[in-house]
Amino acid sequence: MYLMMPQLVLNSLITSAELAIVGLGLTMCFDILKFANFAHTELAVMGAYLGFLFNVQLNWSLPLSFLLAAVLTGLFGMLTDRVVFKRMREIGDVIPMITSLGLSIAMRNGVRAIWGSDIRVYNVELSAGTRLLGAYITPSQIWLLSIVFVAMIGFHLLLKRTKLGKAMRATSDNRALAEASSIDTEKVVLFVWFIGAAFAGLGGCMIGWDTQLDPMMGFMIVIPVFCAVLLGGIGNVYGVMLGALILGFVQNFGIFFDFGGIINLGGALQIVDRLMIPVDYKPAIPFVILVIILLFRPSGIMGKQKGK
């Protein structure tokens, strides 16, 4: 395990970066609009396939394709809010949640109907990994980590240094009060949708670039993304980054951890030999963590007390 350590750290970081960039929009929408948007990760799928359309089908360059895909996904996010969710602002959290579930089914299968169920890849040359501190890293992974890092810094600056960011924080804190201070909260909501959806779309492109494109990938990451969001506490944009980081590491290291050590109290007892999570259950790790958080600490570990 010690030999694999650098590689595991790198893999964890990549998983975390992907979860964080997709989760950012989810946590903001969840906070301001007060409902769980199950269609959010489908925006990532949409972005990834739009990237495929531009990059492979139209043969444009990769950066241009990703940028366009992110912007178009952002616009699509705004559109879903205008057309579907705007009329549901005042009727509680269950109906918009069920709606988003229907939307996610429609979007996932829409992608499947247009581009087919086959696995696709972007038009990039496969390049050998470079060795970095004992781990193999591909150029696409270096790009992925840097782009997500820059996006996070950019978002932080937007939130803390601009007037719009201030309006966003005010709206998230207390919507009625923000409106009373003549902030156009509907405009803020639209902007939150745009940036959240655009980040998700960009994240989808990144996932597709690092691995492959699959119409089901939105569904595969929906629970891990929700898990990162709830770990960090809903509405806490730094919390979701931390949550993604924790989940990324737990998911990658969890299957290498020997729980026998804990049960035997570090060698004091000899109850079990070795107790490890089987590799087949790796996808179940976020599910289990999610249920545990929801049961015991629904406000997340960063504890922005909003709860039920």
């Binding site: 269950v94 579930l101 229907g102 429609a106 829409g110 629970i223 049961l295």
Partner: protein, 289 residues
């Protein structure tokens, strides 16, 4: 003859899904519990039947056993509803449903893992039996909803505060709701297994839960008649589109995807314009003298 065998299949599958939809409607429509993991009842019911049929248990006993197991699962799950409401519980149940599926997928010794499990026990007059059981389930939920228990349940759906102020043990009611929903879901799963004679973890993807959700929201939440109507509509559509490939120049996969696009949009449109469903549940008005 082909038409007859098709109708036979359609009636059976619609009846099975009607029971499944009644089970969700009982929890969500009547009790207000947003269960996104409904498929785990179906899953436990089906696997109980498959495993017990393989060791030679007679069909009646295995179906009762399936209902018992799913009811017990509902009882266990209800404990997660103790301090979790609406959205959070929905997300949690979705995860639990996937965990259950992953266990059946990876534990080969239990029920064949990814290869699934088959058995060769046929029930005579199966289609008739499913229809009769649907009618019985329908009558049963109707009866429960007209009992004092049902009336309290309706107030719980609108929020915990009113029943609490009347001194009702809300958690206890939710527990019973989950058990009844589990029993009905287990029955549907058991019949599903007998209909297919072969089940594997792929039958229990979360999409099954969402199809049943479509049935309940299309029909009208809190209305059992509406739920049956929703089940029939969605099933006509679901099974009927298989014939569309005969006269549409599209591949099977594209058509399957388009079918799900329509089901998804159906949920969205109903929620946008008729969030109470096509046949909304009637509010009974009690006259106070």
């Amino acid at each position: 003859m082909e038409l007859f065998s098709f109708l036979h299949y359609w009636v059976t599958i619609t009846a099975i899904y009607s029971i499944f939809a009644l089970s969700l409607n009982f929890q969500y429509g009547h009790g207000g519990l947003v269960n996104f993991g409904q498929v785990f009842f179906f899953c436990f019911g089906a696997y109980t039947v498959a495993i017990s049929a393989n060791i030679g248990v007679n069909p009646t006993v295995s179906i009762v056993l399936a209902m018992g197991v799913s009811g017990f699962v509902g009882y266990l799950m209800s404990y997660t509803a103790r301090n979790m409401g609406g959205t959070y519980w929905g997300i949690a149940t979705l995860s639990v449903g996937e965990i259950v599926r992953l266990v059946f997928l990876n534990e080969d010794w239990l029920a064949g893992g990814a290869n699934g499990i088959s058995f060769d026990v046929k029930i005579p007059y199966f289609a008739t039996l499913t229809v009769i059981l649907t009618v019985i389930s329908f009558g049963f939920t109707k009866m429960v909803m007209h009992s004092p228990f049902g009336r309290v349940l309706k107030t719980i759906r609108e929020g915990d505060d009113l029943p609490l102020s009347l001194g009702k043990d809300v958690f206890n009611f939710k527990k019973k709701t989950m058990v009844i929903g589990g029993i009905l879901g287990g029955l549907a799963g058991a019949l599903f297994a007998y209909q297919k004679q072969f089940i594997n973890p792929e039958d229990f993807f979360p999409i099954e839960t969402f199809i049943v959700w479509a049935m309940v929201v299309v029909g009208g939440r809190g209305n059992d008649m509406g739920t049956l109507f929703g089940a029939i509509i969605v099933q006509i559509f679901y099974v009927g589109t298989r014939f569309a490939k005969d006269f549409l120049p599209l591949g099977g996969d594209t058509l399957a995807a388009l079918r799900m696009v329509v089901i998804g949009l159906l949920i969205v449109l109903i929620m946008m314009y008729r969030s109470k469903g096509l046949i909304p549940g009637k509010r009974r008005i009690y006259k106070v003298e």
